[in-house]
Symmetry: C2
Subunit: 466 residues, 2 copies
């Protein structure tokens, strides 16, 4: 059986036995598993051959790229892992069309660099950017810190190439901004977590690189004050806020504990710490004035000054250079590391309407101790789009209590019109939520689509759909 | 049979016999048909009952809202037409969340008015806005003139409610900007032309209303010069160009013929007429300077002046007030009326990469006369997104020649990496293109999805999929 795989990818790229050591857990370490084997195809043709082989032999395939997911989407007990890491070519960056054509194994930060070399950006970004790969970003419709301005991953994708569950290659690598020719299979595969096809390449949108940023750490008394700051900034800049990230005091404390050279953002520790960034591309916003100040920084300072006068601002630090800006971002991007620094851990990635973030967190202060006295929440939030990473360090070691925590979170979220899964996806860990909470008519339709496209249940079985 | 429908919607809203007079053709008049009956349900529950009835009786349903489509998507020979026109409530406009919750029968311009009353806009707009309805906009993923800035219809939709082919109501009326909980059924139904479900309501994104517009008619020597204008304006304004529309001389001529009180845009007729509009929301762009001029108008004039000096601009008229702006838009929005003012007519709605618009049109000057000597193209283009309405008035009356024209257009479009259907959809008229040109693997997957969700073939059969 393995011999057939070796014949497809070459001996060196079909791993078994002791060679599987590095392939038997996800990044979080929550899921440990024994894959049947790992194959590392070099191109789309090899991926297609492997999928056809899997249909013939009835073998489950778990596609994996950067393996940085937080929901156990790459758990591969007894399955064949198909790694896209060798398909790592940036085929083209075409600045005049503002597109990049890339393979699934391209590391996100490598694409960042390639775009920046052309004075463009690929805006998708998050903590794991140095190891996450494009295939996984698309398959999970990754979110991150710039969704407020540029949308989720799916908003940055023009076309895809994918191997469908029957082993056929679907080449819909459109570069077009308008294409209404049948069902939108691109959007169906994006976010399908590898259960409907293996995305092997994509045409991605690039955006002009902001020529100036204004970045600040701001402390406000309450979360509603933070929303006032956000709205004023959006109004002042015409919607140029790129990121608006909330870090509670505890996030900052743990960051300083696990990073010995880390610094507090303010002299006095604060409860509501906001990282705000405004980007500007137009000359009128980027060209320094007679005082040397860039206009975009002036807009930010003006709004901050106004709020300070009104007593709605406790402290603020504006980044004076790129190093200070980087430092602010590192504090935020350590979030996954912070969350995973203690075990056990219950990861909740939820979204609610913006004005419900504060009521949700308030409710949880009452609810959580009832479910697990002594449990500690370790929270961080993409506040600008209502996405809260409500991670919990439970006091109890009992998995049933952990599930009860998740269920309590779901109760509050759904009562507020929210979603139990904002950007991390379902994978393995959110299957109970999906079973309990997803609209049953929608769930039925999803199952019908899965059965129609993957009748043998080859691709990432047991994920996403309960 | 009809009695059962009467029992669902009430006697007055199940039409048969002579009452069908107004329901037996599409807006273009290309398709004439005899529906079995027309039902006009009052709410989603009634829609669901009708679809269940159709499954029991094996009756085909053709959903219809504004009936302004250009591809024959509402052809209903022997089928039950289900009109959404009575479901016309704007349930809510929530300015603080920038959303509108509307039913499928809401007329697009009524939603425009409701949004503007809150100082917001629903950016989707096109000529038929006074009769097109939201259900049809979503089902066809309508494009229009503001895609460049705000995206296609699907980019403006947060959640939907739909009746699936089995008669179940799928309520995924999310207001969230992040929601990764399973396959994206919203995007699957948007653009599915009523073949996978009947969209009955939606949560739509609203945008801040630009406080100032700068709108101009510009004549440039060539289409590549127009792209220089577009790029410079985007750079100068940080991407604030809302519309960039190309009207060849012939469009203007026919407009003046069919509208007796119409005026030429320039003193001397020009070949390459561009309608350009820039919108601004930020105070710095909207607040008039000491000279009374709004900054956004100054940016436009500065770019135009630069190009005039370089000899890349033949003439330009900047709208001085809202009436002049309206006049410029009316000329553009008459495009469908202009195209349909002569019969027969072959409608081609294609998209190519931006820099391929000029080569495409040039190639067609050679190709078209070979297929049908004497055929006249009547062209208009959303140049900013590469979408060309390459309508042809054929000399021949032979439908086979008309199809040959379509096929010749497809040849050129596909050779340039384009799509044979940009924003009008497939409906009936583009089924031959879909059969000939759509990626066969994608087409197979679409058919599998259709069969899985609509095993009895109830919803809009014979449309979209060949």
């Amino acid at each position: 059986m393995i011999d057939e795989l070796r014949a497809i990818v070459g001996d060196a790229y079909a791993l078994t036995g002791a060679d599987l050591a590095g392939w038997s857990q996800d990044w979080t370490g929550t899921y440990q598993f024994n894959p049947l084997a790992v194959v590392r195809p070099a191109n789309t043709g090899e991926v297609a051959q492997i999928v056809k082989w899997a249909n013939r032999t009835g073998t489950a395939i778990v596609p994996v790229s950067g393996n940085t997911g937080l929901s156990g989407g790459t758990r591969a007990e007894g399955a064949l892992m198909l790694s896209l890491d060798r398909m790592n070519a940036i085929r083209e960056v075409r600045p005049e069309s503002r597109i990049a054509i890339v393979e699934a194994g391209v590391i996100l930060s490598n694409l960042h660099d390639a775009a920046e070399a052309e004075d463009l950006i690929f805006p998708l970004t998050f903590g794991a950017k140095g190891s996450a790969m494009i295939g996984g970003c698309l398959s999970t419709n990754a979110g991150g810190s710039n969704v407020l301005r540029y949308g989720n991953t799916r908003d940055l994708v023009l076309g895809i190439e994918a191997v469908l569950p029957n082993g056929e290659v679907m080449e819909i690598m459109s570069e077009l901004h308008k294409d209404n020719s049948g069902y939108n299979l691109k959007h169906l595969l994006i976010g399908a977590e590898g259960t409907l096809g293996i995305i092997t390449a994509a045409v991605l949108k690039l955006h002009p690189k902001p020529r100036a940023y204004a970045t600040a750490m701001v402390a406000v008394p309450t979360l509603p004050d933070a929303l006032v700051l956000l709205n004023r900034l959006q109004q002042e800049t015409g919607g140029a806020v790129e990121a608006f990230e909330y870090m509670p005091r505890k996030h900052v404390e743990v960051y300083c504990q696990i990073k010995p050279d880390a610094r507090e953002p303010f002299e006095d520790p604060q409860d509501v710490n906001i990282l705000v960034e405004v980007g500007a591309t137009a000359p009128r916003d980027c060209t320094p004035g007679p005082d040397g100040q860039v206009p975009v920084a002036a807009y930010l300072e003006q709004v901050l000054a106004g709020m300070f006068e009104e007593g709605m601002l406790l402290d603020a630090v504006v980044a004076q250079n790129e190093a200070q800006r980087r430092g602010m971002w590192e504090r935020r991007e350590a979030a996954a590391e912070i969350a995973m620094s203690r075990r056990p851990v219950v990861v909740n990635d939820i979204a609610v309407p913006l004005d419900k973030v504060a009521p949700f967190l308030e409710r949880m202060e009452t609810v959580l101790p009832k479910v697990d006295p002594g449990a500690e929440p370790i929270i961080v939030s993409h506040l600008g789009d209502g996405n809260v990473h409500y991670t919990v360090w439970p006091a109890s070691q009992d998995p049933q209590v952990h599930d009860a925590i998740m269920e309590a979170v779901e109760d509050e979220v759904l009562a507020m019109g929210g979603s139990f899964s904002a950007e991390h996806g379902i994978g393995t860990s959110k299957l109970p939520s999906m079973r309990r909470r997803k609209n049953p008519v929608a769930l039925q339709a999803m199952k019908a689509i899965k059965a129609a496209l993957d009748p043998n249940g080859i691709l990432n079985p047991g994920k996403l759909l309960p």
